[in-house]
Amino acid sequence: METQSIDREWKKGSAELLLLSLLETRPRHGYEISKLIEQRSQGALRFHVASLYPLLYRLEKRGWIQGRWVEKSGQRRRRYYRLTSQGRKVLASQREGWQTFVAAIGRITGVENA
């Protein structure tokens, strides 16, 4: 399977989980989120503007995350997203679901659980 299709297929199912996870520890702005995904996946996953922001807006609409404009001295203002308490619950349940899913796949395909 080529990298690009991994990218597309897996992103669909897991993008929400990725975003919520990255916001778990502290508020971040969009560019930061996209960089983190790229770095931590060692380049396997990349979110560009066109897919990242609509997803952020969607999560915000659902009330899972909340965006807030923050001005820091000497910089242009940026919009930071933080996890809401509802988002925290969703993250916990998605994370659990994901682990179950990966374990199940692993048992079937024989790929060792990391």
């Binding site: 969009g30 560019y31 560009h48 066109a50 922001y53 609509p54 807006y57 969607r58 009330g63 940026r78």
Partner: protein, 900 residues
């Protein structure tokens, strides 16, 4: 550095986001783009490369706009959040509206009652008429595949459609290939004896093929077998479900039992299903070959025989018509003496049944629709008045954040609630109204047994009431929703804006206009009926009692016994105190039946059928002219000496005298009659309007002949006996003699029943039944319209006076006299009524043309009728304006001015 803002804004333009939201997104994405651009440059990309990559990522092949559209522009699957606009919220709102609506309506019971009654009248009348239209016109006949059932008639130049000669039917059936099969039938009455009192029951002679052609399976037993429908076969009988239930207590062991009908013993072979309505009142069905008459064997006689065929699948009516025409053509070449000039015509059974009544019913549908519109206009006016009173309530709601849609919805819910309430009462009115309609139209409505309230009628009522509710609720609802909260909340504001009053004015004008149309229709029908009643039918219709009778089966054996029985019957009838003269006749003028015979002048051989002339053929006893008081113009009428031993004689009417012997004296001349042979004309009597008060003048057959019962050839006598009528001239109210007549006709053997007893006036009124029915309904509709319009005008004017109390008070303080104030108010109201009446007049002139076929002696748009309508309506409108105007003069200027 590139201007990312502009790039992104261009992309987002198609989404048409709210400006604030768009700016926010643009800012955030531009920030991202800038970060990315810098990063690319710092990792070694050229300026152009960095720019290209960033741009690509932003647009992502339109991924961005697509994704954003999904998120920003729809309310697509989102979790339910309180406070958002969504379905659940809508339903909660509806429940709220309903509860609130109920409460508001209950709080003003007077208003609610008046509005509901007006709507109930409108909806009820519409439901009643629709249930008639549904039962008569819309519902398919209760046979499988009813559209393939065709009536087949004989036809010629004199009659469009007429009854079929039995041998012709047999040939059609044998030769045609367009039909799966054909069946024949003939209505008759049967003397049912041997089971208590003798009773005359209506029945049908039917061919064995008829019931299978109709596709009907008997409820009990079986249909007739072909061998039961042969000359000389033992008599079999099938019973109607109703007859079986009433006379035989639904006895399931009826099959095989023997009934005595017309002195024949007939074995019951089957019972028809309850919904079998071939002839509404037929109770017994007997194979047609049991009709023991020479009439059935000749092509000359057309003894009231009907034929129905079932089209084969895939054959069109036109193809069947072409085939039957060619068969009839072959028969007229083969039998020129009887069949020359005879064709055949096919008509769908349902069209034949209901085609004549269709225009009348459609007219009524239109009229009753107008009534509903008037009712709607009235209720809309009431609601408008109320909405003004409630303006403060809606202003408060608006101030608290209710949007326009919410207010409109609340008001529409209320009006639909009102109309649904009206519909419930309306259904009761409809049930009662439908029976009224049926009672007003005895016999003149085909399929009347199928009229009733069924699911389609209920659906109709539901739809009509919801549509009505929305229609009359719209104007008031928008009026309220548009109210300016600030204005309304100010103390002491007198109703704002002229919009409402204009709308009211339009409603009043519409009501008045529609009332003009309905009154014009009703007026024209009343004039027609009135003129018809004044038509001279050619005889004295007062104090005549007619009844059909059956002779004792014992006398039917010999012609001499039959003649003797007639003579004794007449003697006994004439001896009844109060009876001045009695006669027997084969035909009653203005009744349903007719019978013709063909003749040719002189005593030569019979010319071919198509050169014969037909005349109505009355077979009567000598006192017939004295009973009917038909004037004798020339010569003499029959007497007891005109019998089989003397030369055959005939009396003709003056129309035939003029037609056959123009400018000559027909008395003493000879003509020849079919079947009878040469006869001598001995007298001329006045013409009688046999075909109907209205249609006699235009009928193709107007010549009339009278032939003595005593001279009927023996072989025809027994069939001539069927359907004879005893007619008596009485010196007192005819119906008071019915019991005496019944006793005297029954005779010493008590086995001669009388049936279908009617006075001549009842017969005439029956001949006008359809018109009377239309007239009655139009009068009811017009009266309702008049009442509603009067109430409408009165309501609007009363309200106007209340609204103008202040102004009128100032006027009278400044010296306006009472009559000036009255004039002021009346003028205002009459202006609206006059506009309505003018428009109504124009519409009436156009619309009454559609009822031309129902009118007699009066043209549609008859100026005198319209003048009366305008005077009547104008008078009522004036009254409806005057009463509130009078009240206006009672306004005390001091009180009026203080009320601010």
């Amino acid at each position: 550095m590139p201007d990312w803002n502009e790039q992104i804004r261009q992309q987002l333009a198609v989404l048409k986001l709210a400006p604030a939201r768009e700016a926010e997104i643009v800012e955030e994405l531009a920030q991202h783009a800038e970060d990315r651009y810098r990063e690319l440059q710092s990792s070694g990309a050229t300026e152009a490369e960095a720019r290209r990559i960033t741009l690509e990522e932003i647009s992502g092949h339109e991924l961005l706009t697509r994704e954003l559209e999904a998120v920003e522009c729809t309310n697509a699957p989102e979790p339910i959040v309180l406070g958002a606009k969504n379905r659940a919220h809508f339903l909660t709102g509806l429940g709220q509206d309903l509860r609130y609506g109920f409460r508001t309506l209950r709080k003003s019971p007077g208003f609610t009652a008046i509005a509901m009654v007006a709507l109930a009248l409108g909806i009820g009348a519409n439901t009643a008429i629709f249930s008639v239209v549904n039962g008569v016109l819309l519902r398919p006949l209760a046979y499988p595949d009813p559209d393939r059932l065709l009536n087949i008639f004989e036809s010629n130049a004199e009659f469009g459609h007429y009854s079929v000669a039995y041998p012709n039917y047999l040939d059609w059936r044998r030769e045609s290939h367009s039909f799966t099969d054909m069946g024949a039938f003939r209505s008759d009455d049967f003397n049912f004896t041997g089971s208590g009192e003798p009773e005359q029951v209506a029945g049908e002679y039917v061919s064995a093929s008829l019931i299978p052609v109709l596709g009907v399976t008997p409820f009990l037993g079986r249909s007739f077998l072909p061998e039961e429908d042969r000359q000389g076969a033992a008599c079999a009988v099938m019973l109607s479900y109703g007859f079986w239930k009433q006379r035989f207590a639904a006895d399931r062991n009826i099959l095989g039992r023997s009934l005595t009908l017309n002195a024949m013993n007939c074995a019951v072979v089957g019972v028809l299903p309850a919904d079998f309505r071939f002839r509404e009142n037929a109770r017994v069905y007997i194979p047609i070959e049991q009709y023991n008459s020479v009439e059935l064997r000749t092509r000359e006689s057309h003894p009231g025989l009907g034929v129905i065929g079932r089209l084969k699948p895939g054959i069109t009516i036109a193809a069947a018509q072409a085939e039957i025409t060619s068969i009839a053509g072959g028969l007229s070449r083969l039998y020129p003496a009887t069949n020359a000039g005879h064709g055949a015509a096919v008509v769908r059974v349902k069209d034949d049944m209901v085609g004549r009544i269709r225009p009348t019913l459609l007219l009524l549908v239109g009229a009753v629709g107008f009534v509903l519109i008037i009712a709607c206009a009235n209720v809309a006016n009431l609601l408008l008045a109320r909405s003004t009173a409630r303006q403060r309530e809606f202003a408060i709601r608006a101030a608290l954040g209710a949007d326009r849609g919410r207010v409109v919805r609340q008001l529409l819910t209320e009006s639909v609630l009102l109309s649904l309430g009206g519909a419930v009462i309306g259904l009761l009115i409809a049930r009662w109204g439908t029976s009224l309609v049926l009672a007003a139209a005895p016999g003149s409505l085909p399929r009347s047994g199928e009229i009733g309230i069924d699911p389609y009628v209920l659906l109709f009522t539901l739809v009509v009431s919801i549509v009505t509710g929305v229609l009359f609720g719209l104007a008031p609802a928008f009026h309220s929703a548009n109210a300016n909260p600030q204005e309304s909340l100010k103390e002491g504001t007198r109703g704002a804006g002229g919009g409402r009053h204009r709308t009211e004015g339009v409603f009043v004008a519409v009501e008045t206009g529609l009332a003009v149309i309905l009154l014009a229709g009703a007026g024209l029908m009343m004039q027609s009926i009135w003129r018809l009643w004044r038509v001279d039918p050619g005889f004295n219709t007062r104090n005549i009692l007619t009844t059909q009778f059956a002779l004792s089966p014992k006398v039917m054996a010999s012609p001499a016994a039959i003649q003797l029985a007639f003579q004794q019957l007449l003697e006994r009838a004439a001896a009844i105190p109060g009876v001045q003269a009695a006669a027997i006749t084969s035909l009653v003028p203005l009744g349903e039946s007719d019978s013709e015979n063909s003749f040719w002048p002189g005593t030569g051989p019979q010319p071919p059928q198509d050169r014969l002339t037909s005349a109505l053929f009355y077979i009567v006893t000598p006192d017939y002219p004295s009973v009917m008081q038909i004037p004798l113009r020339r010569g003499r009428f029959f007497n007891a000496r005109d019998n089989l031993a003397s030369p055959p004689v005939i009396v003709i009417d003056d129309v035939m005298a003029k037609h056959v012997f123009p400018g000559q004296d027909p008395v003493g001349r000879q003509i020849s009659l079919m079947v009878v042979g040469p006869v001598q004309i001995v007298g001329v009597v006045g013409h009688v309007k046999h075909w109907g008060l209205d249609s006699d003048d235009t009928n193709k057959i107007r010549d009339q002949m009278y032939f003595p019962v005593r001279q009927v050839p023996d072989k025809f006598l027994s069939e001539a006996v069927a359907g004879l009528t005893l007619a008596m001239r009485t010196g007192r109210e005819p119906l008071s003699l019915v019991n005496a007549v019944r006793a005297q006709v029954a005779g010493p053997t008590r086995d001669q029943p009388i049936y279908a007893v009617q006075t001549m006036e009842q017969i005439i009124s029956g001949s006008l039944a359809e018109r009377r029915f239309t007239m009655l309904l139009l009068i009811i509709f017009a009266a309702t319209a008049l009442l509603l319009a009067a109430v409408g005008i009165y309501g609007v004017m009363s309200y106007a006076v209340t609204r103008r109390t202040h102004e009128l008070g100032i006027r009278s303080a400044l010296g306006a006299s009472r009559s000036e104030i009255v004039g002021l108010v009346v003028r205002q109201g009459m202006k609206l009524a006059a506009i309505g009446m003018a428009a109504g007049l124009v519409a009436a002139v156009v619309l009454t043309r559609f009822m031309a076929g129902l009118l007699y002696g009066v043209r549609p748009a008859d100026p005198s009728t319209l003048a009366v309508v305008i005077l009547l309506l104008g008078g009522i409108a004036l009254l409806a304006c005057y009463i509130p105007a009078r009240r206006a003069t009672a306004v005390d200027p001091v009180v009026a001015l203080r009320c601010e």
